[in-house]
């Protein structure tokens, strides 16, 4: 591998050659930079959101137990908590009361969470809220707390001070809007309505001996899978979801989304390949004469190929670096307008992404972007460069 040495004179020559054909090269540089920027933005967005979700998963309970009947989720008996908590290694088991409420006028789903004031809370942010606000008092005058997104939707539908929920039996349940809460992770709190457990049961149609699911906290993460196995053994009719399962499925979703994008992106790469191929094939008489002169003064085909290779490397590496920088600016400073909708979903109440994307930059992503840009550009120039370098000298100079 001793022959792969950088010849500085040749490098200088290549830079000058690039500058001689400014218009052509700048247009290629711009297109290429934009392509790289597009590709990198997608990866940066998906990495950041995935990171956000993974840290959200971290704050979740280790195990969620759902009852499944006929392949569908079903209400679970509250007294199962007692036998789950008896398993060695379980720190706590809490029956949750929550569910979705479909508000047909706006076409959105609210998440209703029923809070038991004196029970243990399964999430620290709920703990903080129960410390501040007494849900028993809320229950006494049928009121609720809502997230910012919910408040806005209700206002648009002229529910300024209260909201009428339609219960499963068709009767109305009037809930007074007691306040708005804003959490640090908007991803979780935007579509949420908090109320006392009794009110939540009434709206969701849940009898007092049932719960939506049971969350289990485990002290030692290494015992997680064993405990999950034990719960499955005691209650064969349940689906036991562990935190690791969630993490893997999040990972899969985002790998799938960016993979899908990449598969589509292949088409643009292919088109780009053809454009570069075409552009570098069309030599004007000036360039032809230049090659002719070089051949005449004793350059071999190999030397000219090498010079063309330097040209291609310079352009593609500059575009790569510029593209990554542009993408960093676009995603982390401008917050990725337009592109983020690919990952956001289209529900009206889904997060309005005020979150500053967490800055994540891993080598693997940079390597993917590199492999999909620089080699493809250089590859597209190989055959045109060879064609140009093997022109007949006498024909060109004449």
């Amino acid at each position: 591998m001793k022959k792969i040495k950088i010849n500085l004179y040749l490098l200088e020559f290549s830079i000058n050659a690039l500058l001689r054909a400014k218009a052509k090269n700048i247009s290629i540089l711009v297109i290429f930079t934009l392509l790289v920027a597009l590709l990198s933005s997608i990866f940066f967005i998906s990495n950041s959101i995935r990171y956000e979700l993974e840290s959200a998963v971290d704050s979740l309970p280790e195990i969620i137990v759902q009852k499944v009947k006929g392949g569908r989720e079903y209400d679970i008996e509250i007294d199962r908590v007692d036998s789950i908590i008896a398993i060695n290694g379980v720190k706590s088991a809490i029956a949750r009361v929550w569910g979705y409420y479909y508000f047909a006028n706006a076409g959105v789903n609210f998440s209703i969470i029923g809070i038991n004031q004196y029970g243990e809370q399964y999430k620290s942010n709920l703990e903080r809220i129960t410390n501040r606000i007494d849900f028993d008092a809320l229950e006494a005058n049928s009121s609720m707390l809502v997230g910012v997104g919910v408040r806005d939707i209700m206002k648009q539908n002229y529910y300024n001070n209260y909201f009428n929920f339609i219960k499963p039996d068709g009767k109305l349940k009037k809930m007074i809007l007691a306040g708005v809460f804003k959490d640090d992770t908007i991803l979780e709190s935007n579509d949420i309505i908090l109320m006392s457990q009794k009110d939540a049961r009434e709206i969701l149609g849940l009898s007092s001996s049932m719960a939506t699911d049971i969350v289990v906290k485990v002290a030692n993460p290494k015992e997680l899978s064993t405990i999950a196995e034990k719960i499955r053994f005691i209650y064969p009719d349940t689906r036991v979801v562990t935190k690791d399962d969630l993490k893997i499925s999040y990972k899969n979703i985002f790998d799938y989304k960016s993979g899908l994008f990449l598969a589509l992106f292949t088409i643009s790469l292919f088109i780009f390949f053809i454009i570069v191929y075409d552009k570098s094939s069309g030599l004007n008489s000036e360039e032809k004469r230049e090659i002719g002169v070089l051949r005449a003064v004793g350059w071999s085909i190999d030397d000219i190929l090498k010079e063309k290779f330097y040209e291609a490397s310079i352009i593609s590496i500059i575009s790569y670096l510029l593209g990554v920088v542009v993408a960093l600016f676009y995603v982390y400073i401008l917050n990725a307008p337009l592109l983020r909708y690919i990952f956001e979903g289209y529900s009206k109440l889904k997060t309005p992404f005020e979150l500053p994307f967490t800055f994540i930059l891993d080598i693997s992503t940079l390597a993917i972007i590199f492999f999909l840009s620089v080699p493809i550009y250089i590859g597209a120039t190989i055959i045109p460069a060879w064609r140009a370098s093997s022109l007949d000298v006498d024909e060109v100079i004449r």
Partner: protein
Amino acid sequence: MILIPEVISILILNTLFFIFATIAFFLSIKIAIHWDFNKSTKEQYRLEKESFLVSTIIKYIFILKISLFLFFIFTLDKISDLITGAMCASGVITATSYGVYLLAIKLFNIYIFGLWLSISYLDTKREDLPYTKIKFELFIVAYLFFIIELILMWLMFSSIDIDKIVSCCGTLFSSSAQSPIGDIIRIEPTILLTIFYITSLLLFIFYKHRIKYLFAVTNILFIIISIITLISFFGTYIYELPTHHCPFCFLQKDYYYIGYLIYTLLFIGSFNGLNSGVMEVLGEDASNSYRYSLIFNTLYIVLVTLYPISYYIKNGVWL
């Protein structure tokens, strides 16, 4: 089928390689058949030009292949997060029946492409282009291996099943495993170590006395015994764990990616050793690769020897 971005980009690049290699393949056939340096026909002149295209293409593929190979290993490590039971690349490789062959042929192809380039370099240096015919015949063979590699890779990526449980490296590389690997691990390490250091010593002796054929042959022995001792002895000191023999885990972050350095040194050393043998067969001067081979092999020996020694200094006992 795993559709993660890393795999897709590997597949895209390999498609590109396939297209270029196929062009080079057909040109090679033409050159191998019609090449005659003494002719001064138009056709011979054209063939000469085309030979430049082929060697540029091969150079392009080779350089990318090396970096892509490292990326491939890295990707396998990443996939291991997704597959139940796998903790490092070895689980992914054994997840399908193609993995082991794929890895072997990938390595083999890198050696072949590298040798091709070094013959090609010799060829263009001389005015009478003495090796042109040979090198294009060699490429025809290399192309077939390359195609096998591509097919295997496609088969492997499309048959990985995320939900299937695979073996972790702890069971694959354990002394109770009923496999050739298990047999190797059961051999007393002192015997293997003796062979390893004797082979190293032989390298020095042959280098000193310029016995080039034996030097090349010893290099082949050296790479085999290196990998065996890496699995059976040196690996355990990298992990500081007497039961862990996996040759993939030390590619991971927990061991500071040291595996990439280890394998790179081993590759450069052995490649140059083989290269010097081939050059000797062709009657060319190969003192450079001769020297590089010894330097990198020595670096490798020093690096892996440092692990047990520093362990002994720190803890006062052997594993």
